[in-house]
């Protein structure tokens, strides 16, 4: 398992990033955690629909996304808000999606991020196609896809990996093995010792990395992206991490796992070790921490405000994006819906 920064904040290998960049990414992780906790809180207040927390997975998402170029494609899932935000997905749209508004799925034209995939497993093949299209069109960009340990059991994972390897498409498969797929522990998801070794089935390199280690995640992703960009083919990365919270706000983890396990993983917190690293180098102070948390909170509040102030979609909007040009039967249905019923 690739590791660079230990839980106590020590380097066991050279850092791939300058300290000031690490500091910037620490700030992003703090932002992500603030967002995430706010998400759960808002759901409890009834202001969001079901929310899927990624607490504990901040290093995996921020570290990997930090290695991307702005034009690289990202195809991620419901639990990957931090990665999507890193790649430019506007915060207010992430919130809007969570309130149950379709406009949350519509990032600006320059943001190469698909709306989050709610189906498990189905989206990885999309990254293969996007990467392929980029190559055929002579674009330099590559594609990264994020998915969980559970998603590796779906047939579509297999087909995605196989197509990627056979056609040598420039893409990166980034698995956050967070120990659980709802209530199913990783050990019962598959009998392979690691997720990374699944790459062998496709003649693809696979690497396991400490997913709570920002620097290791960055290094592994950067190397995989470089391979992809050099047309040397796809890579599977397994980031070993842990879902600290429930599967979603609708889930009760007490039904299937011991709290002690979660406590153990809290000891390997992805933020704390970076804080220690920065602190050691006098790049962290308690005041700065307060400052970035406050800045995060206010930016997040702004985004929530924007999401909640969106004029609600009307009865005609259900139809408005079904086709480029609405066929007649849909125009009729739309008119009927807009007319209402006494």
């Amino acid at each position: 398992m690739l590791a660079i920064l230990t839980p106590s904040g020590n380097l066991v290998a050279p850092s791939p990033l300058e300290p000031d960049v690490v500091r910037r990414l620490y700030r992003a992780m703090v932002f992500a955690r603030t967002y995430d906790r706010k998400g759960t809180a808002l759901q409890k207040q009834g202001r969001l629909a079901t929310y899927a927390s990624f607490e504990g997975q901040e290093a995996a998402q921020v570290g990997s996304a930090a290695a991307l170029e702005p034009e690289d494609w990202m195809v991620a899932s419901y639990r990957d808000a931090a990665a999507m935000w890193m790649q430019g997905y506007p915060l207010e749209l992430l919130f809007a999606g969570r309130t149950g508004d379709e406009r949350g799925g519509s990032p600006p034209a320059h943001v190469p991020v698909l709306p989050p995939s709610i189906t498990v497993g189905g989206h990885m093949v999309h990254a293969v196609g996007l990467a392929w299209a980029a190559r055929l069109r002579g674009e330099r960009r590559v594609a990264i896809t994020y998915f969980g340990d559970g998603a590796t059991s779906e047939g579509d994972f297999h087909e995605a990996m196989n197509f990627a390897a056979v056609f040598n498409t420039p893409c990166v498969f980034f698995c956050q093995n967070n120990g659980w797929a709802i209530s199913l522990p990783r050990e019962e998801q598959t009998k392979s010792e690691t997720i990374a070794q699944k790459a062998i089935a496709y003649g693809m390199p696979g690497v396991q990395v400490d997913g709570n280690d920002l620097l290791a995640v960055y290094a592994a992703t950067e190397e995989a992206l470089a391979r992809a960009r050099a047309n040397e083919g796809p890579t599977l990365i397994e980031a070993v991490t842990y879902r600290i919270g429930p599967h979603t706000t609708a889930d009760d983890p007490a039904r299937y796992r011991a709290g002690t396990l979660t406590d153990e993983w809290r000891q390997r917190d992805p933020l704390e070790r970076v804080r220690l690293f920065l602190s050691e180098r006098e790049l962290w102070t308690a005041e700065w921490q307060e400052e970035i948390e406050a800045a995060a909170a206010s930016e997040i509040d702004r985004a929530i405000g924007l999401a909640e102030e969106m004029v609600p979609l009307g009865p005609g909007d259900v139809f408005a994006s079904m086709y480029a040009d609405l066929p007649r039967h849909l125009r009729l249905q739309q008119a009927e819906n807009m007319a209402g019923w006494g």
Partner: protein, 325 residues
Amino acid sequence: MTVRNIAQAINDALDLALGKDEAVVVFGEDVGRTGGVFRVTDGLREQYGAERVIDSPVAESGIVGVGFGMAVGGLRPVLELQFMGFSYPAYDQIINHVARIRNRSRHRFSAPLVIRIPYGGGIGAAEHHSESMEAIYTHIPGLKVLVPSTPYDAKGLLLAAIEDPDPVVYLEPIRLYRAVKEDVPDEWYTLPIGAARVEREGDDVTLITWGAMTKETRQAADLLADEDISAEVIDLRSLVPLDLETLVESVGRTGRAVVIHEAPRTSGFGGEVVASVQEECLFSLASPILRVTGWDTVFPLKRSEHHYLPSASRIAAAARRTLES
């Protein structure tokens, strides 16, 4: 007798089936440890063990395909697919294997299994969690397709499905899981597969529906009653086989009908109902048979659900329209 909601009635049926027949196994994502995402299988793993109430990896085609092998091999699997929107990866196994093995082998092999699928919207869920795609299952020869709407029916139909020698797709209306309660017998009982239930008698117009839309349809009948329009409400309960006699009797009498479903209109099961009924009753019809359905759109997210789901007033408006001619 115990007062049960639909989720509890299904749980009770599974409990009885597991207790009665060693061949019954329950298999699906999260059905064990956590009792299913809707808690429908709550407590069954504790009682019958992890060998018979089995948590599956996340792989719907595998669940149905492995369940198929189990059934051919002598078990009676009750499979769960977590939401209808996640049932599609299993469609190939269902149509190409589950529904065909009896015919393919001329009765030598069969696949007596039940596939439970929660379906329908109205709970403000995420994308793919609100689908009503029953029609694509009703179009597969070799299956039976059931949709209960009450706790009593839910239990009796599920036990009938488990006893049935052929594969059954059993659809559970999500927004009714806990919305209806009634006295449900504690013992084993089955309801006939293929029999509709006249939920309310009436003379002026027949409202035909199933599953979750029974609620709005009943409400529409109430609205109509206020205007002295007497609506008969029929809950199909079984889509395949379809109880055409009950429909024909009713529409033959009322001369007017509205079919209501939540699924998109085009090629929804409503088309089948209309086509079959008009074939038998054309000359009794005083008005075209109307359909009140979901739109031919994606089921919207939480904030727009009410712009999609057929409402009681929309149903009542259609019923009134049939009475205009």
